[in-house]
């Protein structure tokens, strides 16, 4: 059961990551570049933070590395409803 619980936790986590994107708060950001430096696929997250735009990028894995490493909490996951059923 414990293993199943862990598995469910993992599934939940990945469901959240898959349905979210990284959104910056430019007021918190000081352009230090830790986010860009640590992005495993080389996205310039810092440039998005300067413009205040969410990281909508084909290569973004929503791995959370940038969110976790930002020393000023400038980045957070925002849920997207891209695949939500539209009301008629």
């Amino acid at each position: 059961m414990a293993i199943l619980g862990l598995f469910q936790h993992d599934v939940k986590k990945h469901a959240v990551l898959a349905s979210g994107l990284v959104a910056p708060d430019p007021a918190r950001c000081v352009q230090c570049g830790i986010c860009t430096y640590n992005c495993p696929v080389g996205i310039d997250v810092r440039a998005h933070a300067w413009r205040g735009e969410p990281v909508i990028h084909n290569h973004c894995l929503t791995c959370g590395e940038c969110v976790m490493r930002c020393p000023r909490g400038s980045l957070r996951f925002e849920k997207t409803d891209l695949f939500a059923k539209r009301k008629p």
């Binding site: 430019p26 830790i34 810092r46 440039a47 400038s74």
Partner: protein, 432 residues
């Protein structure tokens, strides 16, 4: 139209972006005396700890600069001829302008003690300082850090991360007493001690001792001597006013500007750490030394320089920093005290933090998760969030948008109130 920007920090970059949003063809020149141009000065703290490489601190590529369409001149401006609207540079060249921005920033106040010029005594103003500190830390063992505020702590943490033993000297009885309350200072100090920092309260360096021009120790006011091979200090900053004074502009502690970032010369503007900005809301001029306001001021200045009249609306000061590894958000007005460790303003600081209207304090939090709210009559005037940052975003909005909190005021001020829960519930209500 010819625009000249003196200074290569975030204000200057934001000014150019604003100018270009209005005027695509005007001639823009930026003159900077920092050999490294534009980089994230706050990010130097993470360069010191080794969290990133120095190359990562530069936010713009040369391609992006080309798109902004401006000329960069590395050099120092020695004078402004206001009548002729000409800048004179130290290299004997001159640059004509129609609109000028002075964004020369601020510099560290010097350590006033014999021996302060010895090799091994450092401040943290620029990239070059950070590089020198790191080079020295490679062969050093013991450091003495002097000063309060964010920069001094960045020095402590950076040197610790580089394997040095650190004595941290505070002139007062606790860390950053002008902004943090006693409990918050104690949280920071306790965490530093766990990391191995030796704290000294009521301590002051009266002499840096040296041998063969190198630091070998620090003599303290109480007669003690600490053996060390490095002394690093951050006791406050001073706006770089030399150019404005030479030009005969109105200055106080900074260059005085109105809400359009304009000096007493209508052709000259100022923004960032060097500017003392009139705030119509409080009827006086205020110094901020924060990245966010510097960028916003620069942008407002640029719009006005390009002819689009736009007032700079000062948001409640807001900063997020890491204090002894603990993420801390400081919003609005939070403290009233005087800080013995800082002369004037510190980097990452705003004078508004200490200009506190009537407020009552609501607090909660144990050890690393700490929350303090400054509760006014109808709104929250400020907040300090240490540790868990879940509440910092809602609080930032509640304070900056001056949201009426009358409905929860009593709950917040009740004895043993769980103020975090009250805020969460209130925020959820606002969003629905």
């Amino acid at each position: 139209m010819k625009y000249a920007i003196v200074g290569s920090g975030v204000s200057g970059i934001a000014t150019i972006e604003a100018i270009r949003s209005v005027d695509r063809s005007g001639e823009v020149v930026m003159i900077g005396d920092d050999p490294h141009g534009f980089y994230s000065r706050p990010g130097l703290a993470y360069y010191l700890t080794g969290e990133l490489h120095d190359k990562a601190l530069y936010p713009r590529t040369s391609d992006e600069y080309r798109q902004m369409n401006f000329r960069y001149v590395k050099g120092r401006v020695k004078g402004v001829l206001r009548e002729a609207r000409v800048l004179e540079l130290e290299n004997q060249t001159s640059i004509a302008y129609d609109r000028l921005l002075i964004a020369t920033g601020a510099q560290a106040l010097p350590l006033e003690a014999p021996g302060a010029n010895l090799e091994g005594v450092f401040k943290l103003d620029h990239m070059e300082d950070a590089k020198r500190i790191l080079k020295h830390a490679r062969r050093g063992k013991m450091a003495v850090v002097v000063g309060g505020g964010i920069t001094a702590l960045e020095l402590v943490e950076g040197l610790l991360a580089r394997g040095m033993n650190v004595h941290y000297l505070l002139r007062g009885d606790r860390y950053w007493s002008g902004v943090l309350d006693e409990h918050e200072s104690k949280i920071v100090e306790a965490r530093l001690q766990v990391e191995g920092v030796t704290l000294h309260h009521h301590a002051e360096v009266i002499e840096v001792m040296g041998k063969k021009n190198r630091v070998i120790g620090a003599r303290l006011l109480d007669g003690r001597t600490l053996t060390c091979d490095m002394v690093a200090y951050a006791i406050g900053i001073r706006p770089r006013l030399e150019l404005a004074i030479q030009a005969g502009l109105a200055v106080d502690r900074g260059i005085l500007v109105n809400e359009f970032m304009q000096t007493n010369d209508p052709h000259i503007f100022a923004a960032g750490d060097v500017a003392q900005v009139y705030d119509p809301a409080v009827g006086r001029s205020i110094l901020d030394s924060l990245w966010g306001p510097a960028r916003q001021q620069g942008y407002a200045a640029g719009l006005n320089m390009a002819g689009k009249t736009t007032a700079y609306i000062k948001a409640p000061p807001f900063n997020v920093t890491r204090l002894a590894g603990l993420t801390t958000t400081i919003i609005g007005a939070v403290g009233g005290g005087h800080d013995k460790d800082l002369i004037g303003i510190a980097r990452g600081d705003s004078e508004t933090w200490r200009s506190l209207p009537d407020a009552l304090v609501a607090q909660s939090g144990f050890d690393v998760n700490h929350l303090r709210l400054m509760v006014g009559e109808q709104r929250l005037l400020g907040a300090v969030v240490m540790g868990d940052q879940t509440l910092s975003y809602p609080l930032q909005k509640i304070v900056s948008e001056r949201i009426d909190i009358s409905s929860i005021r009593e709950k917040l001020l009740a004895a043993d109130a769980r103020i975090g829960d009250v805020v969460v519930e209130f925020w959820a209500g606002l969003r629905n």
